[in-house]
């Protein structure tokens, strides 16, 4: 206690030095704690599933045809569930939320997002409904009573949390559904689901076709089975199924088994890892700064320490005294740091993309506070132990006899501070280099040619709902009429519809096949997969897709017209290199006649390649008129004149939909630009966060260098005065101080560049069109740090060159 009290008193007397040390630690501890809270919420906190470590996510991959994370077909799902020995249980769900149902409320129709899931879904995840029960075998039988499990939020929001709802029926989309259970409050899987219905494939094609993948699987590993073992076993099973699909053909598919947590966290894991590394480095720089201050302090207190030794203090007591002082710094740093952590976490959540699972629930709770305290103690030890041991190493007799100048302890302190400056420079260069790579990657990603123009375009889901418009031709007519109205509206230049919006579902889309005239049927399952998009006339101009050749779809390209298609440039180049694609023919999804023959579509247009499934993901685009496709359209895209605002477009869209069907909800209204911005969210977040850390690292390192060089100039005042008295010029002294100050920085920069080259490989998966060893970025990082170091060295160096020899030597 006495040592702590003395520590506090010394800190008060040390004033600016203490403030600097406390601020540096508070910064490190604050940022570190905020990031720990985020990592805790996203990566460490258990998912709301029983024994989540045994849960895996299963998709397929077909490298030969350029398909990753390919969904699984229904027959393949049944086979895997039956045959896989490494899986105890398997559940299936479509790869997108597919069971949106409309609830009529007093304030208008409300769309509830739903997931169709196989009956074992809740059991596989080990989730028991908070009220009622989960699905059982039989619930997913064709013709069975319609049932659903409601999400807690939807139950509270739309049904007033009425527990009597369980067992009752509610009307959704014109059908009666019995509510059999309410999910636990923390359960939201797949993300966005507000209700779950049993998976009952409606079309025979979905039940039987092995070539039509549309399911994602979640499975529980059998006791003792590992992810690797399951992956190996499922590879064999999937290969066998692929052979069945192509009648013994050459399709080369394999399984992709991923721990469910990894799948859910996605690239948020590596991104948080990157930020954690940046924070750790900033904290180390802060610790180096504090240690550097303490070393200087230790030297200044040398006399006090030797006196204490002479008065009977053991080395352990002295180390304890010095550590207590550091602990006081750390305790104050923790208090300030936790306040800073609150602010940093709020900023982090605000900056982060919305789809980082669990991040929004991150708080500075007891665990985080405990982490902050642990971090503070670790920092105190890290920053304080070395200076304490170094300061107490001296035999008392040397100190007592006033041998301060040129003594071994002073030499040690100088060396220690040089090493610390070198370390700071090294850490800072690593942060700068990593941040440089991430920022450059983001800039590259932002500068990507999307193929379409996101400005002035609004998108929305208009359905229409099947229960209101049961026949496919009714739904197509709905869109036809809606688009006609929109195009006639003032301020609208183009309007069209499609099935899936760009960039919204990540890599998910319709993986289609194609067949060229003369190719055998089996080639359809061997040719590269195309990005198949059913669209209405007007969709391409509404998206602002640059036409390269030919024409857009028109009224004549209906169900009864000649089959037509529009291709992206990349597909055109691949299929007809050096030829005009217009007039070429290919068969695709939906063009197989009942007699088994193929009907070929004529290519009538070529457009720019669009980035639909990710900003870094260019596919082989194939557009077909919705009237000639087995798939419906759901989303409308409206392009306005420059002056047309999104609000005005949305009002016109809602009015047009209401005029056609007042009960049809218009949901997911979003400017196309917002979808692009969301897709850039992860990269932008990483870029802003690491950029911020880089600036911080640079400032802290510069501060540290400034402190050390300033201290060194003060210590060497006499020597510099002697040099000046002996004839050295001001420039000589300036150069001497700059050289001495910059030498450890240069060594640190070299070491930092080497470390950055190694660490950058770990974040390679986050980089886009930027090499992990980008020499320009590494040079920039080194240059920035050296420039900051020169700026930090210059004021003390100039002060040194202005030393008055007469005054300095007289003072001695």
């Amino acid at each position: 206690m006495r040592d702590l009290a003395h520590g506090l008193r010394r800190l008060r007397r040390a004033g600016a030095t203490s403030a600097l040390a406390v601020s540096a630690l508070a910064l490190g501890i604050g940022l570190g704690s905020a990031l720990f809270a985020a990592v805790d919420a996203v990566l460490l906190r258990p998912l709301p599933f029983a024994e989540e470590g045994r849960l895996v996510f299963v998709t397929e991959t077909d490298d030969q045809r350029g398909a990753t994370q390919r969904p699984v077909s229904y027959p393949d799902y049944l086979d895997l569930a039956r045959d896989a020995k490494t899986l105890a249980a398997v559940a299936a769900m479509p790869n997108t939320l597919s069971e949106a149902l409309t609830l009529a409320t007093a304030s208008g129709p409300v769309r509830l997002e739903g997931a169709a899931v196989s009956h074992g879904f809740f059991d596989v995840l080990g989730v028991r409904p908070a009220l009622g029960k989960a699905f059982e075998p039989g619930h997913d039988r064709a013709g069975a009573e319609r049932t659903l499990v409601l999400a807690d939020a939807a139950w509270r929001h739309h049904f007033g949390a009425d527990p009597r709802l369980v067992g009752r029926s509610v009307e959704l989309s014109g059908e009666s559904y019995r509510v059999i259970g309410i999910a636990p409050a923390d359960f939201e899987y797949p993300k966005g689901a507000e209700l779950w219905t049993p998976l009952v494939p409606a079309q025979p094609a979905y039940l039987e076709a092995r070539t039509t993948g549309w399911l994602h699987l979640v499975a529980r590993l059998a006791p003792g089975a590992t992810v690797e073992a399951a992956d190996a076993e499922l590879d064999g099973l999937v290969a066998r199924q692929a052979a069945l699909a192509t009648g013994g053909g050459t399709e080369k598919r394999s399984a992709v088994v991923t721990p469910l947590r990894d799948h859910l966290v996605g690239d948020a894991g590596p991104a948080l890892g990157l930020l954690a590394a940046a924070v750790a480095l900033v904290l180390l720089i802060a610790c180096s700064n504090v240690a550097s201050l303490l070393v200087a302090h230790g030297l200044a207190r040398r006399r006090e320490l030797v006196v204490r030794t002479a008065l009977g203090a053991s080395r352990a007591r002295l180390v304890r005294l010095l550590l207590c002082e550091t602990l006081v710094v750390a305790a104050l740093g923790t208090g300030l740091g936790l306040g800073l952590a609150h602010l940093s976490l709020t900023a982090l959540i605000g900056l982060a993309p919305v789809d980082v699972p669990g991040l929004a629930s991150a708080t500075i709770d007891g665990r985080v506070s405990a982490f902050a305290v642990a971090l503070a103690f670790a920092s105190a030890l890290l920053a304080g132990l070395w200076p304490a041991l170094s300061a107490t190493r001296e035999a008392p007799v040397d100190g007592l006899r006033g041998q301060s100048r040129g003594s071994s302890s002073e030499a040690r302190a100088v060396r220690a501070r040089r090493v610390l400056v070198g370390l700071e420079a090294a850490f800072a260069v690593v942060v700068l280099a990593l941040a440089g790579l991430v920022v450059r990657s983001f800039l590259r990603l932002s500068a990507q040619e999307l193929g379409y123009r996101p400005d002035q375009a609004l998108t929305a889901r208009v359905g229409p709902d099947e229960w209101r418009h049961p026949k496919p031709e009714d739904r197509r007519r709905f869109h036809h009429q809606l688009l006609a109205q929109l195009r006639a509206a003032p301020g609208v230049t183009a309007a069209g519809s499609t099935l899936l919006r760009p960039l919204e579902l990540g890599p998910i889309g319709i993986d289609g096949w194609y067949l060229l005239p003369g190719q055998p049927e089996a080639a359809a399952q061997q040719n590269p997969i195309v990005n198949y998009m059913p669209v209405t006339p007007g969709y391409l101009p509404a998206m602002g897709l640059s036409p390269r050749a030919g024409r857009d779809f028109g009224e004549r390209d209906g169900a009864d017209g000649a089959l037509v298609a529009i291709v992206g440039e990349r597909l055109a180049r691949m299929l007809w290199p050096g030829q005009d694609a217009i007039g070429q023919r290919l068969a695709t999804v939906g063009s197989k006649a009942p007699d088994g023959s193929f009907r070929f579509s004529e290519v009538i247009g070529v457009v720019a390649d669009g980035r639909y499934r990710g900003l870094a993901d260019v596919r082989l685009d194939l557009y077909v008129p919705v009237e000639q496709s087995p798939f419906p359209v759901q989303f409308v895209v409206v392009r306005g004149r420059d002056e047309a605002t999104h609000e005005a477009l949305a009002t016109r869209l809602r009015a047009a939909v209401a005029a056609l069907d007042p009960l049809q909800p218009v949901t997911d209204v979003a400017p196309l630009r917002a979808l692009v911005a969301d897709a850039q969210g992860g990269a932008r977040f990483r870029s802003q966060a690491t950029g911020g850390f880089a600036v911080l690292a640079l400032l802290l390192a510069a501060l540290g260098i400034f402190g050390v060089v300033g201290w060194s100039v003060a210590e060497r005042r006499r020597e510099l005065a002697v040099r000046l008295a002996l004839g050295a010029g001001r420039a000589d002294v300036l150069g001497l101080v700059l050289r001495d100050g910059l030498a450890p920085v240069a060594a640190g920069v070299l070491a930092g560049l080497a470390a950055a080259a190694v660490l950058a490989r770990l974040v390679r998966s986050l980089l886009f069109e930027v090499s992990a060893a980008d020499p320009a970025i590494f040079a920039l990082a080194a240059g920035l740090l050296l420039a900051a170091a020169v700026a930090a060295c210059l004021p003390p160096a100039l002060r040194a060159s202005r030393v008055d020899p007469a005054e300095a030597l007289a003072a001695e």
């Binding site: 003395h6 204490r308 002479a310 008065l311 007591r317 035999a395 008392p396 007799v397």
Partner: protein
């Protein structure tokens, strides 16, 4: 009480060994007041710090209050020092951040004396040195003489058998120096053994014996 036999101290420099003390043999009895004198560089302070157990890098034999120092480890030497030695410095070396009271208390804290006991001892010493009114002041609020008075009080607080003083009046003007030397004399009369390093024949005259050093040798 103190017995040195052939004690030598040297430094290894580039060109070979440089001796600071050569073959020092001396005896100091309990109750002695010894002055070590000699020109600058003679080895006076070095000898004093060896006697104060601050320095262990020497050769020879050194018995202190019956204990063979030359055979003791670091911890035993520290224990011996804590028990029997009080040290007074030329530059006082009070701890700047501590009050007069706390400075005097420091040696007791390193000897694990209980708090209530410490309070009684420090109160007694403050009273004895008539500095009760200054107990809450910091060193920079005291004159040089007052600081040295506190330094001596601090050296005495743990009731050592011997007080070693390194030029205790070196930084004081003559009146203050005389007061300090009279205090040493009084302490010696009360039974405390005193060994001082001094350049001043006047100061040496307060003692009972003078040891002269020149170039590391006893003259």
């Amino acid at each position: 009480m103190i017995s040195l036999r052939n004690v030598e101290k040297s430094y290894d420099l580039g060109g070979g060994k440089v001796y600071v003390l050569r073959r020092i043999s001396l005896d100091i009895k309990e109750g002695d007041f010894v002055s070590i004198m000699g020109p600058s560089g003679a080895g006076k302070s070095t000898l004093l710090h060896i006697l104060g157990l601050h320095d262990s890098a020497w050769t020879g034999e050194f018995d202190f209050v019956g204990a063979p120092v030359h055979k003791l480890g670091r911890k035993e030497r520290l224990d011996l020092q804590r028990k029997h030695v009080g040290f007074v410095f030329q530059s006082y070396h009070l701890l700047d951040d501590l009050t007069v009271y706390e400075n005097i208390e420091v040696p007791l804290t390193y000897r694990d004396v209980k708090k209530s006991e410490r309070q009684a001892i420090v109160a007694d010493v403050l009273d004895r040195f008539q500095i009760v009114g200054k107990k809450d002041l910091y060193p920079n609020q005291l004159s040089g003489g007052q600081q040295q008075l506190v330094g001596i009080a601090r050296a005495l607080v743990a009731s050592p058998k011997v007080i070693l003083a390194d030029e205790p009046t070196g930084n004081l003007h003559s009146d203050q120096g005389r007061e300090i030397m009279e205090l040493f004399k009084k302490l010696n009369d009360e039974g405390t053994t005193i060994v001082q390093v001094t350049h001043s024949e006047t100061n040496a005259s307060y003692g009972s014996r003078v040891i002269r050093l020149k170039d590391g040798w006893m003259a």
